[in-house]
Amino acid sequence: MARVPIIRLGDVLIATVQDELYDHDALQFQEDLGQLLERGVAHGVVLDFSTVATVDSFLARLIGAIAAASQLLRAAMVVVGLQPAVAVTLVELGLTLPGVHTALNAEKGLALLAHLRRDERVG
């Protein structure tokens, strides 16, 4: 399986997570993203899960960790496109991704990031 592609769109990084991600690819992505954020390349990250059919506890925890680390690196992260079946399964596992922003799709995700950025400047 290939790496998770990360595209830069202005001040935001957009990563499209593939279905059936191997563990080492997920961890590699975590590192790739971390390095980009460390360099101050972006202040927002959109993590698109719309093509992912299975999210297990490993991936769910990784999302939480990436979100927390991103925040420390001064970037807001939003997870978009989680499928209904995935949402139900995660909730049944007790993994509700607290503290992780979510949106229906990439478009709404970008809007949310812009909103958060505005709030940050004011606050």
Partner: protein, 166 residues
């Protein structure tokens, strides 16, 4: 599975009918209403067991995706008993909708239900509630940056008389 003489499995026709009825009942019991662009209302009437809660959640999530809604008004005024099991189901529905990027406001909460939720011992700080559906809708509007403004000069239109007299 047994087969009839014609070679068509006898069970599958009945099974299909049952499935169809179940889907209809599910729709009737869980009407998800789009009250405004981006705002869904889900009034729950009657008791909620695990099967119904799961059905409800799935239907709601599908509608959130289909209507691209960001706010859900979960009205529990019509739920007679909210014990810890039901409370857990409701909170799971809230969590699942949130994972899709929709905010859920619980409306019609009684003080007894409030106590039950507190007893669950989970973090309720992220739960938004309002006393009525109307108040929930007002909050939803304000969240979306909308306001209801009375039109100046126009008096309220009277209700039209019923022309048809038997």
């Amino acid at each position: 599975m047994s087969e009839t003489g014609s070679g068509v499995p006898a069970q599958s026709g009945l099974q299909e009918a049952i499935e169809q009825q179940r889907a209809t009942i599910s729709e009737l019991l869980t009407p998800v209403i789009e009250v405004w662009d981006g705002i869904l209302a889900l009034p729950i009437v009657g008791s909620v067991d695990t099967a119904r809660a799961q059905d409800m959640t799935e239907t709601l999530l599908e509608r959130i995706v289909a209507t691209r809604s960001e706010i859900v008004l979960l009205d529990i005024t019509g739920v007679p008993v909210v014990d810890t099991a039901v409370a857990r189901h409701l909170l799971e529905t809230v969590s699942a909708a949130r994972l899709l990027g929709a905010d859920v406001y619980i409306v019609g909460l009684s003080s007894r239900t409030a106590m039950t939720l507190v007893q669950l011992g989970i973090d309720l700080s992220h739960i938004t509630t309002r006393a009525t559906l109307a108040k929930g809708l007002a909050l939803a509007f304000s969240r979306l940056g909308l306001a209801v403004i009375p039109q100046l000069g126009n008096t309220r239109h009277p209700v039209s008389p019923d022309r048809e007299t038997p």
